[in-house]
């Protein structure tokens, strides 16, 4: 009864083992969901995600999630960001069931093993961010949004499934505050051009200058912090970044 023999966890680190959370690399963003969606951002139960900060007694919710990692995969970026920004609440969003489970377990295990409480502010939710972003975040709530190595959907007929498009950027601009930053990176050149072009076309985003990129400590995490990014580096591949700032509408 007592023994913590969860077969899917490593006995030495206490962390979940990826091989028991295998999933396909792709998930269909067009199919209707059968996971619960909050009706509106005020219906999101923060006490479930960040139990140390929000008690069940309907306490005043003063802090809100500021960073969102869209398609967070196995959670590598979130874990690194939590160290860099210990006071910021952040949420990862992932469509695949098993992968979300892995990230949940990983966060819980890290919370248990770390003393500084730095992982209390990280959480993950299983959802389709292409359809439900406004259900999770209020207008101007986020200061950073991440789209790391999104699915390229190579075929032209599948381009409409890409997570970055001029239409979806309307919604991302809505949840990002003015001055908030959107970070994108890919190892597929055509997708990199596509994402940059969508951001350039959109009237509510402007590119960061090279100086601004150099002085932002988050930028180098884009390549190094995730499993996908590490794989690309191992294979000596090139990456294509587009980092833009949300600005007031310019007609």
């Amino acid at each position: 009864m007592e023994s913590e023999t969860k077969p899917t966890f490593s006995k030495s680190t206490g962390l979940p083992r990826k091989r028991f959370y295998r999933a396909r690399a792709h998930s269909n963003p067009l199919s209707d969901s059968h996971f619960p969606i909050p009706i509106s951002p005020s219906h999101l139960d923060f006490s479930l995600h960040f139990p140390k900060f929000f008690g069940a007694n309907n306490e005043e919710v003063s802090k809100k999630a500021e960073f969102a990692d869209i398609g967070c995969g196995f959670g590598g970026l979130l874990i690194s960001l939590a160290t860099l920004f210990p006071d910021t609440l952040m949420i990862g969003m992932e469509l695949r069931d098993k992968v979300t489970e892995y990230v949940k377990e990983r966060i819980l295990a890290l919370r248990k093993s770390s003393s500084g409480g730095q992982y209390e502010k990280v959480s993950v939710v299983r959802t389709n961010s292409m359809k439900y972003i406004p259900n999770y975040f209020e207008k101007g709530q986020l200061s950073k949004m991440f789209f790391l190595f999104p699915d390229p959907h190579f075929k032209e007929k599948n381009h409409r499934r890409r997570v970055i498009s001029v239409d979806l950027l309307d919604e991302y601009a809505y949840v990002l505050r003015a001055g908030g930053i959107i970070y994108t990176i890919t190892d597929v050149e055509e997708l990199g051009e596509w994402m940059r072009s969508c951001l350039e076309k959109h009237p509510m985003f402007e590119s960061l200058t090279q100086d601004e990129l150099d002085s932002d400590p988050v930028v180098e995490l884009l390549c190094s912090a995730t499993e996908e990014g590490q794989k690309v580096a191992r294979n000596g591949g090139q990456t294509f970044r587009a980092v833009f700032r949300r600005i007031a509408y310019v007609s």
Partner: protein, 410 residues
């Protein structure tokens, strides 16, 4: 041309409810049944002959949305044949026919008559200039059927409601052809597909508020600037009340709603209710409540579409039959809808009288059995289109079985 088997399956979804729209100053009135567009001139009490230079039969498939512009100068009709037809509401000539790539589900005209916006089944809202040939993308609800499009009364915003419970309020820009990218707010709160939206305001207050009807049995009141939900009005109790066999509260769909001009009232049609609800909006207290229930006696008349002009409420109940037989439509009228003395008019009393009914209904009287069968068909068609299919866990696993790309563990 189509396989008979596919046609059988499509028959269910193809049943289209009859629609009605009356000119803002009641100069004319239009009804559609399936692909048939029928217009009656209320000024000289005569049926209107539509003039379309491009082809004889106007729409080739079910019409899904019609409306007059706020000025009353234009009329637009569109639907499953992927054509958006813009008519002059004075000469009834077709001014322009726009081809859409997908079936069109909703349409709106800007208040200055310069732009027509139309939305398709895949969630894209298109905009076209009055003299334009092709629409350009204005905004998009990712993969969600758009059920209703409206401009705010001051013309600043365009609102789009979808099947995924959302209403998006977007700033309508100076240059709409460049796209509408600035989202003002989302009105989130409905727990089922949103079917209809309309603005209500009173002559004293300059501010207007949004009302929305949904498949979740409620009509809600919103402040569109902030997207906040002001009040929710449950309407399922009314429908349940009058059906003697219903003991449990089932969800009913709000079919249509329209605001009554110069009042803070709105008329609401509900899927299983033979009549109309009148809702009153208290604009200072921000509340919404049922103020009157008007039952239509004598026949099973369930409105599929309603439209109001000054204080006369026009209602139609009907549907296309989905096969080669023509559909039917039955028109009823309630006069002085906003006053205590509102009355359901008999056929002889309605403006246009027997001539109007002959034109809009196709014939002077309709059989009861036809009406009952059709209202059931409309109800099934709407829920199969808009309700998300809920599969049980076993059914989902069964459907996944045909996938051939799963890795096995160990």
């Amino acid at each position: 041309m189509e396989e008979p088997q596919i046609e059988e399956q499509n028959k269910l979804i193809d049943v289209a409810p009859a629609l009605i729209s009356v000119h803002p100053s009641q100069k004319s009135i239009a009804v559609t049944v399936g692909s048939d567009l029928r217009v009656f001139n209320l000024i000289d009490n005569s049926p209107v002959t539509l003039v379309d230079e491009s082809n004889e039969s106007f729409h080739k498939d079910s019409v899904r949305a019609i409306r007059y512009s706020a000025s009353g100068k234009l009329f637009v009709s569109t639907g499953d044949d992927k054509l958006v037809k813009i008519w002059s509401a004075e000469s009834w000539r077709c001014l322009n026919t726009i081809c859409s790539e997908k079936r069109v589900t909703a349409v709106a005209i800007s208040h200055d008559d310069s732009y027509v916006c139309y939305a398709d089944k895949f969630g894209v809202v298109w905009v076209v200039e009055l003299g334009g040939i092709k629409g350009v993308s204005l905004l998009s609800h990712y993969c969600s059927i758009i059920t209703s499009l409206e401009f705010s009364p001051d013309g600043r915003y365009i609102l789009s409601a979808d099947r995924d419970f959302k209403i998006r309020v977007t700033v309508f820009p100076e240059e709409p052809l460049q796209g509408a990218h600035e989202i003002q707010s989302f009105c989130l709160g409905h727990t089922e597909f949103v079917t209809c939206i309309a603005f209500v305001s009173s002559p004293e207050l300059t501010q207007s508020y949004l009302m929305s009807g949904s498949g979740d049995s409620t009509v809600r009141l919103w402040d569109i600037t902030s997207g906040s939900l002001l009040d929710t009005c449950e309407v399922s109790t009314v429908a349940g009340h009058l059906e003697s066999n219903e003991t449990e509260q089932t969800q009913v769909t709000v079919t249509d709603l329209c605001a009554i001009p110069d009042s803070s009232l709105a008329a609401v049609a509900i899927q299983s209710f033979q009549g109309i609800l009148l809702l009153s909006c208290d604009l200072s207290a921000h509340t919404l409540s049922i103020t009157k229930v008007i039952q239509i006696p004598g026949e099973s008349f369930i409105p599929t579409s309603i439209s109001v002009s000054t204080s006369t409420l026009w209602m139609v109940s009907g549907a296309s039959s989905g096969s080669n037989q023509p559909g039917y439509s039955r028109v009823r009228v309630i006069s002085c809808i906003e006053s205590e003395k509102s009355s359901i008019l008999e056929d002889e009393q309605i403006p246009g009288g027997a001539k109007l009914l002959e034109k809009l209904q196709g014939k002077a009287s309709i059989e009861e059995s036809v009406m009952i069968a059709a209202s059931e068909a409309v109800r099934t068609a709407m829920s199969s289109l808009l309700m998300k299919k809920q599969y049980s866990e076993e059914k989902r696993e069964f459907r996944k079985r045909s996938r051939n790309d799963k890795k096995t563990i160990n």
